[in-house]
Amino acid sequence: MGSNRELRLSGTGGQGLILAGIIIADAAIRDGKNSIQSQSYGPEARGGASKAEVIINDDEIDYPKVSHPDVLLVMSQEASDKYAADLEKGGIVIADSSYVENLPEVEGAVYNLPISVTAREQVGREMVANVVALGAMARITGIVTREALTDALLSRIPPGTEELNRRALDLGWQMAEKALH
């Protein structure tokens, strides 16, 4: 089970986290791995709290839910309050500093990144904050390759938005690069 990676992407409805989860799971398949994605449904998916979970493994994936994520993305204060404690010891938290002001103490690495602000100010659309987050997450965790992530992203966005999304992904990647060095 050494290759098993578990991710939780959390925030509020409308931030595109479920689509982001699908894109990571898709990218992992393009990298030749197994992946599984699940999400919270119903009223939650239409606003309020939202979460998507992804498991990536070289082998068969049995239990499809994530209890203690290795990688946790929090894009709202509420999500960070709710999920920070679940982090696997030694895991990674990526917090969108645009919305998360007080991240609870965690036993792991923390990256505070201005994800939504960057999407809003440098791409001109906060809507692509999820893609900025994807870029940052991929760079920090190495969980999927940049090529696979780009392919998966481009296959699941509306035609005509390719440049916008590529730029968002790149900004996320650069942001993480800076944070790492």
């Binding site: 479920i18 689509l19 699908i22 699941r156």
Partner: protein
């Protein structure tokens, strides 16, 4: 060339189950006359019934026949017609079947204007279960579940069909058999949802509790109380009180559901040929 009506019946299933004086046989004869004059192909015609005395008629008819669950005949018929629009689909139902338990299916089939012809035997009562009141039982009538008289108002089912979207609505009685046959013919010919309401006597479960003597007397009541739609147009609401308006009540050309669906398929397939069918969303 018209034929003997017996050739449309499963004669080995007779005698039928209806009571002496029941109007159902008369309505059935009008239906067969209409089918005969239109020369419908028995193999290409499906007759669907619900549950109740009238719906049992389908068992006697030599067509593709389907005797369904209570109230659901129109939903079954919708599946048949949409699957094979080239078939003639006729629905036989009663007042309780179509307007109480099947009321929702009735208004939605009318709304879609799907090409079904509904022949509604209106005997104002649940006959098969022994005389309980239906949504078409006139107010102040007696029924086994209304021993003190009904206090509920009744539907005007023809009016309901028209407002729900039916493109053809007619009402006849078992006295006016020629009119009834003509209405059924027009209903079948109409490409869309057609309702033909046939006022039929139930002496056993309705008549004898409501001071009507027998089947023949109830037919005479129909004769005396029916007013043709043309004459009714000249009458005041007070004059029409307690009367049955008969004739072709509504006719309006409107797009038919299965034809529209076939157009949709053609449009989608053409787009698919051009490679521009909307891809499935990932979310």
């Amino acid at each position: 060339m018209t034929r003997e009506l017996d050739s449309y019946l499963r004669m080995d299933k007779f005698p039928h189950m209806w009571c002496p004086g029941c109007g159902n046989g008369i309505v059935l004869r009008s239906l067969l006359q209409a089918i005969n004059e239109l020369e419908l192909d028995q193999d290409r015609t499906v007759i669907v019934g619900g549950i109740g005395c009238s719906s049992r008629a389908v068992g006697y008819l030599d067509f593709n026949t389907l005797h369904t669950t209570h109230g659901r005949a129109l939903a079954y018929a919708t599946g048949i017609k949409l699957a094979r629009p080239e078939l003639n689909v006729i629905v036989i139902t009663g007042d309780g079947d179509a307007t109480a338990i099947g009321g929702n299916h009735f208004i939605h089939a009318a709304r879609r204007n799907i090409d079904l012809t509904v022949l509604l035997f209106n005997n104002n009562i649940y006959g098969m279960t022994g005389g309980q009141y239906s949504p078409l039982t006139p107010a102040n009538s007696k029924a086994t579940t209304a021993p003190y008289g009904t206090i509920e108002p009744s539907f005007d089912i023809s009016e309901l069909a028209r407002s729900a979207g039916a493109s053809y609505v007619g009402r006849g009685t078992t006295y006016h058999t020629g009119l009834l046959k003509g209405l059924i013919k027009s209903g079948i010919e109409n490409k869309g949802f057609s309702l033909v309401e046939a006022v039929a006597a139930c002496p056993t479960a309705f008549g004898r509790r409501n001071k009507m003597k027998g089947g023949a007397d109830m037919i005479m009541w129909q004769k005396e109380n029916a007013v043709n739609i043309k004459k009714a147009a000249q009458m005041s609401p007070e004059e029409l009180e307690g009367k049955i308006v008969v004739g072709e009540l509504h006719k309006q050309e409107a797009p038919e559901y299965t034809a529209m669906y076939d157009n949709l398929i053609a449009r989608v397939m053409q787009q698919a040929g051009g490679g521009s069918v909307t891809p499935l969303k990932g979310n």
